[in-house]
Every structure is written in C-alpha cells, then in structure tokens.
C-alpha cells in the first residue's frame, strides 16, 4: 500500500481558496445580487460550504493514492 503524498504548493493553494473566499468581507458585504430573495452576503458564504468540500475532495484525490486502506 503506497502512502499519501505530502501536501505541495498546489494542494496548499487549493485549500486556501475557500478560506480566502469567506474572509474577503469587503467583497461580499453587499445585498445584491440576491438569489431567491437571499442577499449576496448570505448565499455567497453558504455556497462556499459545499464548494469547500469540492476543493478538499480534489486535494484528497491528488494526495491519497486510489485504493488506500482505512
């Protein structure tokens, strides 16, 4: 069984993207564009929850060899 690779620069950047997205307050601290009546401030932060999962999944695929145990 091969061991997972250590995180490289690409992996760190991928993990940092969702973090930056929810920390950039001046960018998302607005009401418009709203979606289904939900202001931008709220839906922008909400969609980054599943999106962060997608970014982490990509990093998982990059570092953990297929068929690794546990």
């Amino acid at each position: 069984m091969s061991k997972p690779k250590p995180l490289g620069l690409l992996e760190f950047v991928l993990l940092a993207i969702p973090c930056v997205a929810v920390l950039a307050v001046p960018f998302f601290n607005t009401l418009e564009p709203s979606v289904f009546g939900i202001p931008f401030f709220y839906w922008w932060q909400l969609i980054w929850v599943p999106l962060s999962g997608v970014f982490i999944a990509i990093v998982f695929k990059l570092v953990v060899p297929a068929g690794s145990g546990d």
Partner: protein, 512 residues
C-alpha cells in the same frame, strides 16, 4: 405543560440511555486500557467518525446559540458560517499528521504529543491545564441547551426543582460515559444526528413556506441588520472583527481537547481525510440553522402572547425552540426538543472524556504516579470524567448563566494559545520548549487582560495603529504576541546554547 411533546421527548431520551449503556459491548476491546475506554480503540471507520465528529463539533448549544445570535445581532451572528468553512481546509493540512504520530507512540492527548516532541512534561502540563480549563465551561453550556428545551416543554427551570430534569440528564450521561467510554457518544451521535437533520430540514422547508419565501423573510429584517456596517473614519469596526473572529474560532476549534479525542479515535489518517471532504454537510445545515434566527424575527414570534414569556426568560435563545412551538404539532416539538437535548449529551460526554484523558495522562501519570498500570490509569480517567461533569453541573446550578457564557468565550482565547506548541510541533521541532511556555504565558496574560477591559462580555479588542483602529478577535491578537515571544525566546536560547533538542519522535513518524 405540553403532554404529547413531553411523552415523545422522554421516550426518545430513554431509548438513548439504553443505547448508551449497551454500546460498551460494541466492537468490544480490553476496556482496562485507556485507548479503549478513552478513544474507542482507535477503530472508528469513516461513517462513525463522520457522525462522531459532527455530533462533537456541532453541539446542542450551537443549535440554540447560532439562531439566537442572528436573531439578536444580525449579520455578525453569521460568522459561524465562514468559521466552519475555514475549519476543514485547515485540519486537512494538520491533523492527519497528528493521528499518525499519535498512533505510533500511543499518544491519547495532544499534550502527550507535546511531552514526547519536546521532552518537556512542564509544557505538556501547561497545555493540558489550558485544555481542561477551556473545556469545563463548554460542558456547562451544553446544559443550557437542555434547560431551554425543558423550559419550552412547559416546565419551570427555576429553583432546585427546576434543576431536577438537568440533574437527571447528567446522572444518565455520567453513568453511561463511565461504563462505555467513547463508544457511548459514538453510537448516540448516529441517532442524535438523524433527529437533528429531520428537525432542521422540516424547519427550513415549512417555516419559509408559511412565511411566503426567503424574499419575504429578508424583506422583514431591518437593512442595517443584514450587512456589516461600513468602516467609519479609520475604524474598521465589524469588517475586521467578523473575519478574525471566524478565523480565530476555526483555529481554536481544532485545538479543543474534545476535537483531538474524536480525531484520534478514527481508524486511520485517510478516514480523517475522507471525513474532511464530507463534514461540510454539517456546516451547510448550520448555515440554514443560522437563518432560523431571521425567520423567528420575520415571524414576530417574540411578541406573540403565548411565546413572549419564554423570550422574556431565555432571551434570543428561544428563537429556535419558539419556531418549533409556533409552527409544528406537539409530537414534532417533542422530537425536535429531544434532538437538542440528546445533542447536548454527545459533546458533553466527549468533552468530559477528553478532559479526563488530559488529567490522567499529563498531570496524574506525569507528576503523581508515573508507574501506574494501564488498568489503574483507565480507572483514574473514568473517575475524573465523573468529577468533571459534576463540576459542570454545579457550575450551572449555582452560578448565573452569563458566567458560563463569558467563561466559554474566554476559553476560546485560552485554548488558542496552545497552537504554537501543538500545531508548530506537528510540522517542525525548531521551537524550544521553554520559549513556547513563555509565549503561552504571554498570550494568556495579555488575552485575559484584554478580555477584562470590556468585562469579559465580548471577545473583541480594538488595536490603534496610527490613525487606524482595527477591532479583532482577542484570541488572534494574543496568538500573534504568543508567536513573537516564542520566536524571540527560541532564538535567544539557541544563541545562549541553552536550547533543549530532546525529541522522542522521528521525521518518519509523521508520514502516512
């Protein structure tokens, strides 16, 4: 008293109690070893780990406090969301390495790791004491969730009789944690999470439907509540406080002893990595729960004659229970309230186990009885887990609730000061133990002082830089000071030739 709701509530609580006791036999190991009682034998697979960490981090208090914060403070209360988005990328990079080295050296706590990595029982004890102190008010707060829903069922929560349901709940919790260890919250977490998901999904579908959609809900909220106020005359205000609070809280979360306990009980590092992909599902739910605060506001339930007395007694904390009472039939109210109460037991159990592990390993075994047998060690931990819970109970029965809330706020600032020793240690052995201890002390002292400036009521400190004023989370400012002191002191100790390079771990111990 709401009879139907109470019957459903009690029935679910009894079922959970039985489950808690029988779970001792689940994948049974030799329960006289601490890693069996206190870490479930490090055998939990992906699914159980998902439920356990989810049940552990998204506590019952969260379900009550987050909507309450949004209901009362508006946009600021939404910081819980960026907070939970930040957690998983951070832990993905850090905690699998801790799991691997902990397994290799049979470390049960983060302080065990610090003791081995730096050859310094003193530093390990400082970390352990910080963890225990930060955890105690957190356990006490779990009781608040139970108290609010028992009040919502129509029982008085005043006086000694009013505390009786709480005392019963805690005796049950203490008994099954004592016999079953970490296996009890792990099995209960599965049921608890199902109940929570059912409740939240029902709330999030039914309430906006009855209120005429999200457009109507947000239209009913005053504009100034919906966004963070813009900077005024060089003062960044909430614009800097909001992201630093989210970031600092995310860092603090992974340092809490109960987080370490849940993480180390996983079967392997890939089980954890897989979990960080799927745990955001809980965060999404948390975001929806936060919006319940606005729904309660838009529905105006605080002013309804039948609910107003509750809001008078419990304040904004009644937002979520109030929505359930107003929009749902009694049996469903019972189910939703049971979800909150059972949701309090899972983290409370894990927290008390984590605090017990810390005391036993890093204070009792390190200083009092170094030669104790594994069986004696486990016996000690079980006893301490009882003491910790009893302390939390006394706390909530005899002290005003605001103390628990303020101490929990302070606990976050304190636990953050263990980051340089634990997280840096996972990656590098550059720091010196004495320097880390000095940094820890500096961070603690400054943090407590800064929190005392506003009477421990809020966790913000306004830093004046020239003409700029930058309010930010105290824990984060204290952490910066902590790092600066640790770096300067490490350099000084190395120049003086007084640094200690003892290390029980090797670089290869971290890969996997």
């Amino acid at each position: 008293m709401n009879l139907v709701a109470t019957i459903v509530f009690v029935a679910l609580f009894v079922a959970i109690t039985v489950l808690g006791f029988v779970s001792a036999h689940w994948r049974k190991g030799d329960m006289s070893h601490l890693h069996e009682w206190g870490l479930g034998g490090r055998r939990f697979g992906s699914w159980i780990t998902w439920f356990l960490i989810g049940g552990d981090l998204y506590t019952a208090y969260t379900f009550v406090a987050v909507p309450a914060l949004v209901f009362g403070a508006g946009a600021l209360g939404f910081f819980a969301l960026p907070y939970t988005v930040l957690v998983y990328p951070l832990v993905f990079a850090i905690l699998p390495r801790l799991w691997v080295v902990a397994k290799k050296h049979n470390y049960i706590t983060a302080s065990d790791f610090v003791a081995g990595r730096y050859g310094s029982p003193a530093l390990a004890m400082a970390i352990a004491v910080t963890g225990i102190v930060a955890t105690m008010p957190y356990i006490a707060l779990q009781l608040v969730g139970i108290q609010v829903v028992i009040g919502g069922l129509g029982f008085s929560t005043q006086g000694l009789m009013g505390d009786l349901p709480l005392i019963i709940a805690f005796v049950i919790l203490a008994a099954f944690t004592y016999t079953s260890g970490l296996r009890a919250p792990a099995s209960i977490a599965v049921v608890k999470d199902l109940l929570v998901y059912i409740t939240v999904i029902a709330l999030i579908v039914v309430v906006p439907y009855k209120l005429g959609g999200f457009g109507n809900i947000f239209a009913a909220i005053p504009k100034e509540k919906l966004l963070l106020p813009p900077p005024k005359g060089g003062n960044l205000g909430l614009q800097s406080f909001y992201p630093t609070l989210a970031f600092g809280s995310a860092l603090a979360l992974m340092l809490y002893p109960h987080a370490t306990t849940a993480v180390l009980s996983a079967k392997g590092p890939n089980t954890l990595r897989r979990n960080w992909v799927f745990l955001p599902a809980y965060s999404f739910m948390l975001g929806l729960i936060a919006l319940l605060g606005y729904m309660a506001y838009a529905a105006g339930i605080a002013k309804l004659p039948d609910l107003a007395p509750y809001f008078k007694q419990y304040g904004p904390q009644f937002a979520m229970p109030g929505l359930l009472l107003h929009f749902f039939p009694s049996w469903f109210v019972g189910l939703g309230f049971a979800a909150v109460a059972i949701g309090a037991l899972v983290p409370a159990a894990i927290m008390s186990i984590a605090a017990a592990n810390l005391f036993t390993r890093n204070i009792y075994k390190a200083y009092v009885n170094p030669n104790c047998s594994p069986a004696k060690e486990t016996e000690m931990a079980k006893l301490i887990s009882l003491l910790v819970k009893f302390g939390a109970l006394l706390f909530i029965v005899f002290l005003p609730l605001t103390y628990a809330i303020q101490l929990q706020l302070l606990g976050g600032i304190l636990i953050l000061q263990t980051l340089p020793a634990i997280v840096s240690g996972i990656y590098t052995r550059w720091f010196d133990a004495k320097a880390l201890l000095l940094g820890w002390a500096a961070g603690l002292i400054w943090g407590i002082w800064a929190a005392s400036l506003n009477g421990f009521k809020t966790s913000g400190y306004a830093l004046h830089l020239g003409t700029m004023v930058i309010p930010a989370y105290i824990g984060l400012y204290a952490l910066i000071l902590n790092f600066v002191v640790a770096i300067v002191a490490t350099v000084a100790l190395r120049l003086l030739g007084m640094a200690n390079d003892q290390d029980a771990t090797a670089a290869a111990d971290y890969a996997g």
